[in-house]
Amino acid sequence: MFALIGLVAGVLLGLFLHPSVPLWLQPYLPIAIVAALDAMFGGVRARLEGVFDEKTFVVSFVGNTIIAALIVFLGDQLGVGSQLSTGVVVVLGVRIFSNAAAIRRKLFGA
């Protein structure tokens, strides 16, 4: 419930404050967002399965985000930034889909 409120509040804040992405964050923010989405779906799934643990959620959210950004950063340093970000997005996408599938099975039984 509070998470939902937080999400809506964040979106509204973003809409009203018109923030601009700082230059150094620009390559990493999209990946971090995808990682955070993945963590969020994972959290919803865990909640539905009754195994939700807030500490795990927070740690995995922050950790995944940072690791995803770090991987892209490392890739940029190595000169394979775009390939690595593609790889990260693919992996996270697969995870999001499997989490979504688990949520769907829980909610609709199908």
Partner: protein
């Protein structure tokens, strides 16, 4: 048989979200997928029930950050798409346009600020008066009611075969205006907004005054721009020479246009 084995199998192996599931371990929901109607609603309701704990607050905070970041990123992307597809030389063109424009605007800003400062400084309206006089001078120059001085070009058109028509002089005048001439004098006639040329057998009538050849045109403005505009292929000078007329264009750093219009 196949249904039974299919349903629990993916649930029993939740490898992608292992870190969430592994922590608390007991997945007590296995095999409960068979009641699709009541349980999901209960699950959602249970999930939405507010419980104010530190963990919930942290989750809410993280979700807030996530929503904020998503909107930020989406907006940043929207900004980018405008130029993302442009090629490099287009971007360079846009950039130099913008630079020029900002230079010009900055100059305007400086002028206006000077004027504003001047107007604020003197309460007796001295600067305002000067400003009004300066503008009157400007408009007088444009209207042709005051003499003018400045850099420009002198054009002399000799016409031994009497082939230059009024239209050619009008072309020359228009070309000079296009090239930024502020003050133009043809013969001893100051050109204004309603200047006209009429053909005569031995010359041309401009604004009611007879002009015999050679025609002498004085134009005040940027000499280089005007000389270039006159000399382009197929332009005024070529056309006049094609008619057998002799044309000399002489840039001058300083010249005086003394002819005035009555108003």
């Amino acid at each position: 048989m196949s249904e039974h084995s299919e349903a629990p199998a993916p649930e029993a192996a939740p490898e992608p979200e292992a870190e969430d599931a592994a922590e608390t371990g007991s997945a007590g929901e296995t095999g409960s997928a068979g009641e699709p109607v009541r349980r999901p609603l209960a699950l959602v309701g249970d999930m939405l029930r507010p419980r104010l704990t530190r963990g919930q607050a942290a989750g809410a905070l993280l979700c807030l950050v996530l929503g904020f970041a998503v909107v930020t990123q989406v907006r940043a992307n929207h900004h980018d798409t405008k130029f993302a597809t442009a090629r490099q030389d287009e971007l360079v063109g846009i950039l130099s346009d913008l630079t020029q424009r900002s230079e010009r605007l900055r100059g305007d800003l400086r002028d206006l600020e000077n004027t504003k400062a001047g107007l604020e400084r003197d309460a007796r309206g001295q600067t305002a008066l000067e400003e009004a006089r300066r503008r009157a001078d400007d408009y007088g120059l444009l209207a042709g009611t005051v003499p003018a001085q400045g850099p420009g070009v002198e054009i002399v058109v000799t016409d031994p075969r009497r082939a230059v028509r009024a239209a050619n002089l009008l072309d020359a005048l228009e070309e000079l205006r296009d090239a930024g001439a502020e003050v133009v004098q043809v013969g001893d006639v100051r050109a204004g907004v309603d200047t006209y040329f009429v053909d005569r057998p031995e010359g041309v009538i401009a604004d009611g005054r007879f002009l015999p050849p050679p025609y002498r045109i004085l134009a005040i403005g940027d000499p280089h721009t005007m000389a270039t505009a006159l000399g382009i292929p197929g332009g005024v000078v070529r056309t006049l020479r094609g008619l057998g007329a002799g044309v000399t264009v002489t840039p001058r750093a300083r010249m005086t246009v003394s002819a005035v219009r009555s108003g």
